[in-house]
Symmetry: C2
């Protein structure tokens, strides 16, 4: 855990006990990635035989993967007409970050009251790496930022809430990867993270929760602005 270079976007411990059908698992993950990363366009048809060929399996694993994705809300089915990619548009993003604004403060509040010295040290270590990186490698920043918040939420007793957070987080991370951080946003992130650590140290649960609400709100708005800008550019 002391390594500085191995931050991968992994679900927090205890989350996502996938356990899919071996073959189906990879198909599921690949399609899911393709949707989240935007390699599969919005509303694109997901033809079972194509996907099966592309991933070198037969149709059944693909069909099951698609149903799984349907249950998770990434794919939309119409009877006798198959599956389409659920568009990850502004509305979608707004919906999930708004839910984050409601849930993350509660998770934070709990963390503040349960944080150990080691937790705080870990937060500071990650924050150190974030500052060291200073948005030079945006992908790395994204990973580190996820790690930062994961430290706070991964041990929460409400596994549902934590899982929900993680699921939403992945989507937002993928979307935001397509954009650059504005200077204002960079400054805000740094400031809020430092302030958050201070609140955790001081045990100010309420202040920390309120700060996180603002933090998530800001992050969401930032992404939405970028999406709007791009849409406007595309339209104009």
């Amino acid at each position: 855990m002391a390594e500085t270079s191995d931050f991968k976007a992994k679900p927090p411990v205890g989350i996502d006990p996938i356990g899919a059908s071996s073959e189906g698992a990879s198909v599921y993950e690949l399609i899911r990635e393709d949707i989240i990363e935007g390699r599969l366009a919005a509303n694109e048809r997901l033809v079972v035989t194509d996907l099966a060929r592309r991933h070198g399996t037969s149709t059944n694993p693909v069909r099951e993967a698609l149903q799984l994705l349907r249950g998770e809300g990434f794919v939309i089915f119409t009877p006798n007409r198959g599956a389409r990619v659920r568009p990850i548009d502004q509305e979608f993003v707004r919906d999930i970050y708004e839910i984050g604004v409601l849930i993350e403060p509660a998770l934070t509040r709990w963390f503040v009251n349960m944080a150990t010295v080691e937790d705080i040290a870990e937060l500071e270590r990650i924050q150190g790496l974030i500052e060291e990186n200073d948005f030079a490698d945006t992908f790395r920043h994204s990973e580190l930022d996820t790690a930062f918040h994961t430290v706070m939420y991964q041990r929460h007793y409400n596994r549902h809430a934590a899982e929900l957070w993680w699921k939403h987080r992945e989507v937002l991370r993928a979307v935001s990867r397509r954009f650059n951080f504005t200077l204002a946003r960079r400054a805000a992130i740094m400031r809020e993270h430092r302030e958050l650590i201070a609140h955790v140290k001081a045990g100010n649960a309420d202040e920390a929760a309120e700060l996180v609400a603002r933090h998530v709100e800001g992050s969401g708005r930032h992404i939405l602005e970028h999406m709007r800008a791009r849409n406007a550019a595309r339209a104009g």
Copy 2:
């Protein structure tokens, strides 16, 4: 809509555009019902061939239904060992009602600011039916109560949040159907509903939101107490 007897537990408009594979849809719904209603015991193995036989189809529809349920969190898979019913235990219930406490106030706040005269009339009409029924038919009460809150949430712009609420609601409703309402809880429900209507009429968004938080909290605790009592009785 003016009928007094046709309240069925249907998803609010716009929610759940299922569109499952014709055959798979019914299998999905049936298994899902069996889980939520407790006809399938916690952790019970879900053997594909059995389910297929029981529902008069072949295995593929069942497999897809199970994956769908997995995506929704009602079923747990272990590789090469198939599916099991996700136990709807105290932890599960606590997790989802806590999320409700976080989300519903926000939905309510929005409703208070958007409520029309017709909305309020509808709320009062349903509340009238609730009082008329006065827990004589608990099933009917459950339906009416759901209808009451659906009026408030069904038009919310955040479809994700509304859908999440609905999904959680269904689980809680099914669980609570196994218990009776205590007198204290009955009184609280009536009081809070009336108070809520008053707040909506007055446009007191904050007060309404806070009240709903208490309302959901109280409902959740009530269910948990019943579950605890039953477990204790079973153990003793």
